[in-house]
Amino acid sequence: MKEKRQGKRSKTAMLISLLLVLAMALTACGNSNSTTTSTSSESAENTGTEAKETDAGNGEAFKITMMQELYSDAAPDYANNAWFAYLQEELNVELSINFVPTSTYVDKITTYIASNTLPMVFTARSDVLQNNNLIMSMESDGFWTLDDYLADYPNLYEFVGAQTWENSKINGKNYGIPRLRILARNGAIIRQDWLDNLELDMPETFDELYEVLRAFTEDDPDGNGVDDTYGLTTAYEVAANRSWNGIQTLAVAFGAPNGWVYADGEMVPDYGTEEYLTALQYLRKIYENGYMNLDFGEITANTRYEYFQQGSYGMVFGVIDDANNQQENLVQVVPDAQCAVLAALHKEGEDPLCNATAGFNGLLMFTKFGSNAIETEDDLRKILSFYDSLCKEDMQDFIGYGIEGVHHEVIDGVKTLFYNDQGKTVLSVDVGDFSQLLPIAAFTRRPTDTALITSVFDAADEREAYLVNDVSTNLKSDTKNELSSELDTIMMDASVKFIVGTIDEAGYLNEYAKWLAQGGEDVIKEFKAYYEEYIQ
């Protein structure tokens, strides 16, 4: 006979059962959300088929699913937003955007490809474009190529520009809309206030620059009587950084090719050229005399900016659009500091030569496979006309300034943006990172630009005439893909060791011979073959 247990219902039991019930309730909520997403992906298919029947542009809004990397610390609430509402209404589309933190973006793309659910439009930077899964899908016709359609969308075509369309081709075809970046982006930022203190002009030739760096180090430019200033700071960190960390900038200014050049039927890498060695010797002299930071071979890119922001260095190599950010941080420490963009360096009596970037950073690609794909050519044309309309002036204005009264107001004929309590513009909160998916010019001048920002844009404009392009931007080589890390490391280590003084010219040329033997020779051959097949 069982005794009825008069046990007191312990509070823990209640708590646990309550929490489990709560868990069930929450999972029910979670489930309903998941069903909406699964139905939304189905409805994307349905709208696809419906869109085939309705006329393009008329009737219900065309639903576009998009995906992009998130570079800011907040994702825009695009469902409840005046800016997005206007955009969707004006262009008769319905957007569904998936924001992914940039650090896991490549993994997310891989999972989407594996589960066949890649959204219609997505951003693809170089690390995505080099991902094996994406390349395999590309080769099995998983993405739309735009070459045949561009003629019908003149706004879009001209907005990007013929050169950038060329630069962004993969295997000779355009797989997406390139996202524009400033071409003449590599340069250096220099302390204008130090130049003024020492009554020096902005250096333009190599001798002048050398003199300026010497003066920065030895002549006490900050006037505090202490010998605590240095000329130049830069960082090596990884081989890929050579485009902005000064080595390539100087080499190109001396006349070397920007990475690779195709001359006289031969593919020439810059490592072995005279001019590249001259640049290395120049940096070596600067290093020997103590005009630059002695730990440049060990520090990271961030550290070199930290050095510059602490006010003890006069010049830093980098991308010129970082100038504003450096200025803002520098004045926290040195209130009178003034940054400026270093003039484009040139040899005595000649034009400057600037190493260009590719002019774009990644593509907007259009999916052709999977359950969320762009199913028909009609749908693709609808999306392309969406982008085409975005390239027109009124929509570009809308992207830049938003809705009058909500995001900006017109004062004396000048559009001024509203700011919120956190110090950000209302427009940037509403639009957020969505600009990654929009066609935006490489830079837009605003009336509110400071003198420094204006000088950066001016430099970008002026230097377009002096750009040296890297021919290898869209060349493919299997050896390079396999061995790029080893090959790059050999040459960059050699360059750094030469600058630091560990090896001399003979040692450097030895390293170059090693590079050729270990795969450089094959890369040259493959680049040459690819160039002659697809580009010429």
Binding site: L19, L22, K108, Q309, N325, Q332, D421, S435
Partner: protein, 296 residues
């Protein structure tokens, strides 16, 4: 009245103690100094951080970083989501683990060897990211919090340890209970669980920390950014403010780079809750397990 120990310590032992205390003290300091620095930096103005004006004790106080943090609804919401995911996940995981461990600890279970071997197998081999994603996708769990709780619900390692601690309980206790008329459920609930409270506390803490830190799963399985736990935003802010992204788009006002004091504030904000849990769990570690349960 306390008597001083009359046993004299040999000099060698004393020296060893000295070195031990010194060494462990230094190690402890090494661990805690960066932490104190982060807390100090989160309440300092930006210029102090850039010029390294202070070491552990901030020179000036400036709460703009925290103001920014609390003015952002997204960060507060994601903190709430983190707490919810951790609490529900820990309860779910712990209850599932206990049930499994109890059953697997019974020697009279049919197929016990095979089941234990299978569990160890999952500990050693895992499907990988994409197959796991496909499984979750096919079960329609994408964009639902269940995708954070179910795939890793029972950690094989934790389960094996709990099973071992249940096996360590003397079988006389359960036999006595069975004689008094308990069935398996009552045995489990009234005998086993109260006795392994320290174990439950320990592994609950392990699960809680695991769920609290879940960041990768959230980004892979949760598409809706309003559902992300705070770790995702924490990582985003820290990477952004340290300039980890070499391309933040064109020069427009649409790219906001959080200054360094904000990133330190977020670190403190995201770490404090889990730190607060530990003192409450501490007492279970030190309580004795089966004081006087088996007589004679």
């Amino acid at each position: 009245m306390k008597e001083k120990s009359k046993i004299k310590q040999s000099t060698g032992s004393r020296i060893f103690d000295c070195f031990n205390i010194l060494f462990l003290g230094c190690a402890g300091l090494l661990c805690i100094v960066p932490f104190l620095y982060v807390i100090a930096a989160s309440v300092s103005p930006l210029s102090d951080i850039l010029t390294r004006k202070f070491f552990i004790i901030p020179v000036h106080f400036d709460f703009t970083a925290y103001k920014y943090l609390f003015s952002s609804i997204q960060l507060m919401k994601s903190m709430g989501i983190s707490v919810m995911v951790t609490v529900v996940g820990t309860v779910l995981s712990m209850s599932m683990t206990l049930l499994t461990a109890y059953v697997l600890s019974k020697p009279q279970l049919i197929g016990r060897r095979v089941l234990n071997a299978l569990v160890v197998f999952t500990m050693l081999f895992s499907g990988g990211m994409i197959p796991t994603y496909l499984v979750v996708y096919k079960m329609n769990l994408i964009d639902s919090f269940l995708a954070l709780w179910l795939p890793g619900c029972i950690s094989a390692y934790n389960m094996i340890l709990v099973r071992t601690s249940i096996s360590a309980l003397p079988s006389e206790l359960e036999e006595a209970a069975t004689v008094d008329g308990c069935n398996y459920f009552q045995c489990f609930y009234k005998i086993v669980i109260p006795l392994i409270k320290p174990t439950i506390a320990t592994f609950s803490l392990f699960y809680a920390v695991g769920y609290w830190n879940s960041y990768f799963d959230a980004t892979i399985y949760l598409n809706d950014s309003s559902k992300w736990p705070i770790q995702v935003w924490l990582r985003q802010i820290v990477l952004l403010s340290s300039g980890g992204f070499s391309d933040t788009g064109s020069i427009s006002e649409l790219g906001y780079i959080p200054p360094q004091n904000v990133s330190y504030a977020v670190i403190v904000f995201a770490t404090i809750p889990i730190l607060c849990v530990y003192p409450f769990v501490q007492k279970y570690f030190t309580k004795g397990m089966m004081v006087g349960s088996v007589k004679g």
